[in-house]
Amino acid sequence: MKPKKIWLKTILYAGIIMLMIGLAIPTGAATIKIGSLNDMTGATSDVGKDFALGIAEAIHYINDTGGINGKKIKLYQFDYGYRIPEALTKYSLFKRLKCAAILGWGTGDTEALAPTVARDKIPYVSASYSGHLCNPEKTPYNLFFSTDYSTQARGLITAWYDKKWPNKPDYGKRKPRIALCYMFASPYSSSSIKAAKDHAKMLGFEMGPQQDVSLFAIDTKSQILALKEFKPDVLLLTNTVMSVAAVLRDAYALGLKTDKLLLNWGFDENLPKLAGKAAEGVIGCAPWAFFGQNVPLMDKVVEYAKKYNPGIPLEKRTIHTVQGWANALGLAEALRRADKAGDLSGEGILKYGFETMRDYDFGLGVAPATFTATDHRSQSEARIYEYKNGKFTLLDSIDLKKRWPEKWANEWLGW
């Protein structure tokens, strides 16, 4: 063999070996694509931003701890500014990207997309906790990890009736009086009103005149003056934080002495900042622990908040971060179960993922979750907190299913 040929052969062999080495290097594990629609710009951006941060941080945590049985999640997170046409546009993008599931946001996008996700069989895990999304016959692919608004309202009224009413001077002498304050035209604010009225009637309350309070309100004096005539023992407020703070401030200033019950979107760490002294003693439903509270997995929530968003002081982080984690962790568990069953289709994620969960507990102060093929109310327990002396303290925990099993099973699903 001539030396030239020897050299050529040597280079060829070396090339083949280098190529083999190159091929042996892993080119990246399989991924599961997840879409996330968030509001970081629009009407709900004050709470939407923190929720969106929580989603992204939770996905980092899920990937760092083994992903979905070894598969990483690739998150496509977009701000849709609470514009419904943009939510529909982004949904089309998620479909084109072949996302296995979507983490959605509010009432607007969730309701606009509910028929489409049912037709396309794409699980849509959102932060709209309306009771009418819990009936799988109507909205089979809408899911969430929270106590629904109707169950929250029923739990709040029950907790007040059990814990506060017996201490009032008129207890046993007359019926307790309740009034409702909310924005009549808002689908979110009004979604639990029917259940609240039904529950108040069941427990023997006298119902006062309802007050229409805009989500944009910062002056609610006329509504408070109207309420003063009725003298309610308790007020149920189903608006979001700023408008709730306006009612609390005006009630305090005008001397309306009544207890206040709040749904989750009106009850967060920003409320005392906006309402000041008027926030003292308010009672609210919080289906998750407040940011930083001592519950399982909160250490990771705080650690990932510090790691991935070090520019945001921890004092500015809220319960909405924890909410984001809850939906992301719940979805991840459903994906793991479906993946184990070998079916990561939308139908598989629903059937072998969500609907196999029985009292699934992932920490974060969230009540154990159960989904069945006929009932998507993931939690029957309403965790009720009181804001007292600058702290959110657990006041009561009402399990509606245990207390009224017949009504829970046969009457209350889907509204």
């Binding site: 004050d46 701000d79 944009f216």
Partner: protein
Amino acid sequence: MKKKLTIILSFIIILAVLLAGCAAMMTKPTARNFQAPIVTLDSMEVEHFWGWWYYSNKVKPTMGKAGNYGAPLDLAFIFNVENPNPFPVELESLKFTVAFEEFDLNTVSSIETQWIPPGKTNQIRVHAMFDGRQSLLSLLVTGGFKLKEKTGAAGAGAALKQLGKWWKAAPEYGFPIYVKEGAAVFKADSLVKVAMFSATFP
């Protein structure tokens, strides 16, 4: 026999040279030597401008549906991303909040990845679209109390007036725009570093 020896020897030499070359070229990232890249705002541009207008749903459009529509404002933020490491790093994502004066109006993110060579500086352009209607709702729902403190007035009229001032002044950089709470996620092998950044423009 001599030929075989020559083949083996030359093969070993080539392989050694190749491996040594690779090793010399690449310092391996470790938790100790991986420094967070530096992100700075290079400039801000009004990328597209439509002036200021707002139509409520009471106005009948020439075509299409009546609705509440406000002028969009498209700003572009250009960042320098400097990699001080002796190995390439991957920018995985970048996000930040934009505030007009003291009002947070937008949180923007970019999920397109890019590699930054060792010791080099890349640039990244991130668009932030402000929609007059969404900005109005944001001011009303989340900034109502603050707006009242600033302007002495509240409600939709006060919020629209404030938005009009910003929109009209934007092309002249007539008010401070803040980049806040910036976080850029970088990866080198399996290591992660997050760089914080903030800026004011102009």
